[in-house]
């Protein structure tokens, strides 16, 4: 085993794990049960899990076809489209939130029309949280699925076509199963990013307990008055997400 790889790998691991150790070291274990039972903790956790899951579903619904388009269809400006898809990755999330307001807000490009025509207002609603999370998380899914599609062996699809399968059947029965590991990895990344989302959410959807206050927002506000409460909230978010990710990983990603 080359030391040249082992050393930076170890340092990388330390960098990732050390903050976690800090969190655990400062956790007020004695008062943990009371703090967990504090009003608002469960509400925020439930809202976080719900919105992150809905955002992931939205990303799957829109992101998989987008990834397919980028991977399989030659069209002018494809490079530009691919670059545009990654914009939310480089955009500071707060800017993303402002941008969403400028489109879906009351005075936004579409917001006024949505409200007048369908009675839909997105800012300060749970749907707004889902939209903000989907905006920042979708690139993770699209990039993962596009990579998987490019790596997939197209001969299987060709074989399916020669055996009489239509395009849709081929996509659903051959292509999707082929890229399932990439799809699962992308969905997990997407979900994790949505769960931790802060900036776009607080800017676009605001902060109101039970409606738009997700765990990261609750953590930030708890920091203002009570650092220990913030540590506990962070720990809850971390535990739940790690448990879910570990469970999914065993089931979908590492199995052949």
């Amino acid at each position: 085993m080359p030391l040249a790889l082992l050393l930076p790998a170890g340092l990388g691991l330390v960098l990732l794990v050390l903050p976690l150790v800090g969190l655990l070291a400062r956790t007020p274990w004695a008062t943990l049960p009371q703090r967990l039972a504090a009003p608002g903790v469960l509400t925020a956790l439930r809202l976080s899990l719900l919105t992150a899951t809905l955002a992931t579903l939205l990303c799957l619904l829109l992101g998989v076809p987008l990834a397919w388009l980028l991977a399989r269809v030659e069209f002018p400006g494809r490079r530009l489209v691919r670059a545009l898809v990654t914009v939310p990755l480089v955009l500071p999330p707060v800017v993303g939130g402002v941008a969403l307001l400028l489109v879906f807000g009351r005075r936004g490009l579409l917001g006024g029309w949505l409200d007048a025509t369908f009675g839909i207002t997105l800012p300060f609603t749970t749907a707004g949280v889902v939209l903000a999370e989907a905006f920042v998380a979708m690139p993770f899914l699209v990039i993962a699925v596009e990579g998987a599609l490019r790596g997939a062996d197209r001969r299987y699809e060709e074989a399916a076509a020669t055996l009489g399968a239509g395009r849709w059947t081929t996509f659903v029965r051959v292509t999707l199963p082929l890229v399932a590991p990439g799809l699962a990895a992308g969905a997990v990344l997407c979900w994790a990013r949505a769960l931790g989302e802060f900036g776009a959410t607080i800017t676009f959807a605001g902060n109101y307990p039970g409606r738009t206050q997700t765990m990261p927002l609750a953590v930030y506000l708890a920091l203002e008055t009570d650092v220990q409460a913030a540590v506990v909230l962070s720990l809850v978010l971390l535990t739940v997400s790690v448990a879910i990710l570990a469970g999914l990983r065993d089931r979908w990603i590492t199995s052949p």
Partner: protein, 265 residues
């Protein structure tokens, strides 16, 4: 060939690690050197100030540098609670100006202040509405009107605590659409037109006068925040720090604060 190449890569890794360590060390010694630069000409005063002081202290910092050639004022603006936490974690600041006595108490309680804090300004709440007041908001009671979207600060931050006091005192029960993490967040929602009104500090409304109209209300004088300022115990430049605090409390400093909308004691 192979062992040699391996040695080369190992050397490269060691060099990179050493370079990183060296850079980290340099960073520390550089900041330490700058921070211990001492008073007199070229002295740097690092001021941690509440976000609501942004305009006033930016102006005061510039005036101070002009009044004392060779000195530099470095300003760091954030929520008072975040600043207090940074100071207690050892951030190299000279002066702390807080938007609430509660956050100042965090710092003095930890023994990180040099002497007693001095009150240098007061701020009161106003109702900020979009320019021209299109919804005709005349006071606190109007905020409870159905269909009116209101942003407040979260009760955990000073402006939210003051808002709650004011609303309770006026017996106004309202459900805001959002509880913002700081006063600038609440104001931004008004500027973007996403809410019809927000309870913010008068100084913030004044700073955004191009887009926002401030509606004063009876009893707003009761919902005030006191702003304390103090020199910090571990100040790298204690003389510069004391000079800056004195400047803020001078006739000149009080004038700048008053022009920004603060009440000066």
């Amino acid at each position: 060939m192979r062992p040699r190449r391996r040695r080369v890569t190992a050397t490269v890794v060691v060099a990179v690690v050493l370079a990183l360590a060296g850079a980290a060390g340099c960073g520390r010694s550089a900041s330490g050197g700058g921070a211990t630069g001492g008073p007199g000409a070229g002295g740097t005063v690092t001021v941690f100030a509440a976000a609501s002081l942004t305009e006033a202290f930016t102006r005061l910092g510039r005036d101070f540098e002009e009044a004392r050639p060779g000195s530099t004022v470095v300003l760091s603006f954030a929520g008072s609670a975040a600043l207090a936490a940074q100071i207690n974690q050892g951030a190299p600041a000279d002066v702390f100006a807080s938007a609430a006595t509660r956050n100042m108490a965090t710092v003095t309680g930890a023994g990180n202040a040099d002497g007693d804090p001095a009150l240098f300004a007061r701020n009161q709440l106003v109702v900020a509405v979009p320019k021209g007041n299109p919804r005709g908001v005349a006071g606190l009671a109007d905020l409870a009107r159905p269909g009116l979207k209101v942003a407040l600060c979260a009760p955990q931050v000073p402006c939210g605590a003051a808002a709650r006091t004011a609303l309770d005192a006026a017996s106004v029960a309202l459900t805001p659409v959002t509880l913002e993490q700081d006063v600038r967040g609440a104001l931004a929602k008004v500027r973007l037109g996403e809410v019809d009104a927000a309870l913010v500090y008068r100084t913030d409304a004044l700073a955004a006068a191009a887009e926002v109209t401030a509606v004063e209300f009876p009893g707003s004088a009761g919902a005030v925040n006191d702003y304390p300022i103090v020199v910090l115990r571990d100040a790298p430049n204690p003389d510069g720090a004391r000079a800056f605090v004195a400047y803020v409390r001078s006739e000149r400093g009080r004038g700048v604060l008053a022009a920004a909308g603060f009440q000066v004691p």
